[in-house]
């Protein structure tokens, strides 16, 4: 396990933010910490990236203790925080060279790595413009590029796409996907199930400083019942008849039927209803959201 945490606790004043967190992340894998605001996601990242000290418990990254061997940890990790940490009044190139030099790549090493990263993140055209002229998506990409100056073995990404438009979000996802292919270990936090689903091998659900569930995206979704088809009918008798036929429960005039989300299943469902003389007024597909997962697992 390249990241390992045991019984990590943290309080700020009287408020307990983490009440005993255990984590293990195998090298080369992607772990998503999923949870609402205030769940403690950022605190986990701050402790693992040596910015905060745990009150109790211990954690190691690449075998180094995050408290006692903080400098060694810092030389193998990188952190991309929630707010882009870039200098507005430096150009993209200057920001990258600065971090490269602070990572001790040397003058020419930092220049060379900067060229590669500008290319990789599509910032070559904008490299000599000051960052304050960049769009939000470009800033995030530069921020991520700065984190990669020294080819870290472990990358922490704290809400990497919060506040980005869909286009920039998918560009970020592609960039993160590329890191995964290079074998980098990633721990990311997110509020979006879709993002965790798309990027992570394993998802840890965090709520009020506790881990409420952990597993692959499929395993978690299976626990909330996966996708559902919702049916509405014009009249009450039809609704009740359909409910009996499909042995499904109706709530507030809506019949919710488990589904695998395929067109084939939808056809079968509608054919079955038609064969029994039933015609739903409206049909809608419903995919589980973070809310559903939470309601199911924290209830």
């Amino acid at each position: 396990m390249i990241i390992e945490a045991t019984g990590v606790r943290k309080s700020y004043g009287a408020t307990e933010v983490l009440s005993g967190i255990d984590l293990g992340v195998p090298e080369g894998s992607v772990l998503a910490l999923l949870g609402p605001n205030g769940a403690g996601k950022t605190t986990v990242v701050r402790i693992l990236s040596t910015l905060s000290r745990p009150d109790a418990g211990s954690a190691t990254v690449a075998g180094y203790d995050v408290v006692r061997q903080a400098t060694a940890v810092r030389s193998v990790i990188s952190l991309t925080g929630q707010y882009a940490a870039v200098d507005e009044n430096q150009t993209g190139r200057e920001n990258l060279v600065m971090v490269g030099r602070l990572m001790h790549l040397g003058r020419s090493g930092a220049q060379r790595r900067t060229g590669e990263l500008l290319e990789q993140f599509g910032l070559t055209d904008a490299m000599d413009r000051r960052v304050k002229t960049y769009s939000g998506g470009m800033r995030r990409r530069l921020d991520l590029a700065m984190s990669l100056a020294a080819r870290p073995r472990v990358i922490f990404l704290d809400e990497p796409t919060t506040g980005l438009d869909p286009g920039s979000r998918s560009t970020m996802w592609d960039a993160i996907g590329e890191l995964v292919r290079d074998g980098t270990t990633i721990l990311l936090t997110t509020q979006y199930l879709e993002e965790a689903d798309r990027l992570a091998d394993r998802i840890v659900l965090l709520d009020h400083g506790r881990i409420v569930a952990a597993g692959t995206a499929d395993a978690l979704k299976a626990r909330v019942g996966g996708e559902r088809v919702e049916l509405r009918f014009a009249a009450e008798p039809e609704l009740l008849k359909a409910a009996t036929l499909l042995s499904a429960v109706q709530t507030d005039g809506v019949l919710s039927v488990p589904s695998d989300g395929t067109a084939t299943h939808l056809h079968q469902l509608l054919d079955l209803l038609r064969d029994n003389g039933l015609q739903p007024e409206r049909v809608s597909a419903h995919r589980p959201t973070l809310d559903d997962v939470f309601n199911a697992l924290t209830a």
Binding site: S49, S52, R74, S78, L79, G81, A85, V86, M98
Partner: protein, 257 residues
């Protein structure tokens, strides 16, 4: 620290100085405050108020040393703001997650502050010469005056860095550093303390800026320095030690894990 460690620390500090100087150079508002405002103030005092103030000498000769100290005040205020900006943005987390001594972020800003102040001071001196300032200092007196001013600027810059660390925002850093701009007015910078009311005179005489001004004035224009030289040196060294300790301990407290 190992030999290699020292080299790395020096290289990190050089990189951070490079960054701070570049950021300072590109911040138009800061440069305006650090250079243009002191020039305008000097013109105001020399041409508008000066005629009505009796100092027993050409007013421009009297006021220039005070103007130099006022200039450093403006420079220090922008340093506090630059530090506050870093402390309250994601930048400090990025720097702290790198395998460097993150305190070099303060060293960088202090060095940039000294460079900016040196530039501003040189420009103010040139402008003063154009306005009729006639110093009678020889080379060693010039060097002594410049050395004392430099020491004062380094001390004040560290103090400003400390204020920047505790400030909750860039705006409050600007407010906190207000006294640096105000203190020169309560010194012998613009009027002789003897002309002030009796209750204000001791404040004016015993605050740190007055001996520094009197010493610089003595070196440049030949007024008696007296024990002001020793007092100025003591104040500057004391302020420097205090400010470095304050800034570094506030930084540690603020970034305590």
């Amino acid at each position: 620290m190992s030999h290699q460690g020292v080299a790395a620390a020096l290289s990190d500090t050089a990189t951070m100085i490079d960054r701070s100087v570049r950021l300072a150079r590109r911040n138009g508002d800061t440069l305006f405050a650090a250079i243009l405002l002191p020039l305008l103030m000097m013109a105001l005092f020399v041409y508008v108020f000066g005629g009505a103030i009796s100092t027993g000498t050409q007013y421009v000769n009297y006021v220039v040393p005070g103007m130099l100290l006022l200039t450093t005040g403006y420079g220090a205020a922008s340093t506090a703001m630059a530090v506050a900006d870093d402390m309250n943005s994601g930048m400090i987390d990025r720097l702290r997650s790198l395998p460097i001594r993150s305190i070099s972020v303060l060293t960088g800003h202090v060095a940039a502050s000294v460079a900016r102040n040196a530039l501003a001071t040189a420009i103010v001196v040139l402008a003063a010469l154009a306005m009729g300032f006639r110093p009678n200092a020889n080379v060693s007196e010039w060097l002594a005056a410049v050395g004392l001013l430099l020491l004062y600027v380094v001390a004040l810059s560290w103090l400003a860095a400390g204020l920047g660390v505790v400030a909750r925002s860039v705006e409050s850093a600007s407010t906190l550093s207000f006294f640096m701009l105000f203190l020169p007015y309560l010194s012998s910078a613009f009027v002789p303390p003897e002309t002030m009311p009796a209750w204000l005179r001791p404040i004016s005489t015993h605050q740190p800026i007055t001996p520094v001004i009197e010493t610089v004035r003595g070196f440049l224009t030949g007024t008696p320095v007296g024990n002001n030289g020793v007092r100025a040196l003591a104040w500057c060294c004391g302020l420097l030690a205090f400010s470095v300790l304050l800034a570094t301990s506030l930084y540690r407290k603020h970034t305590r894990r």
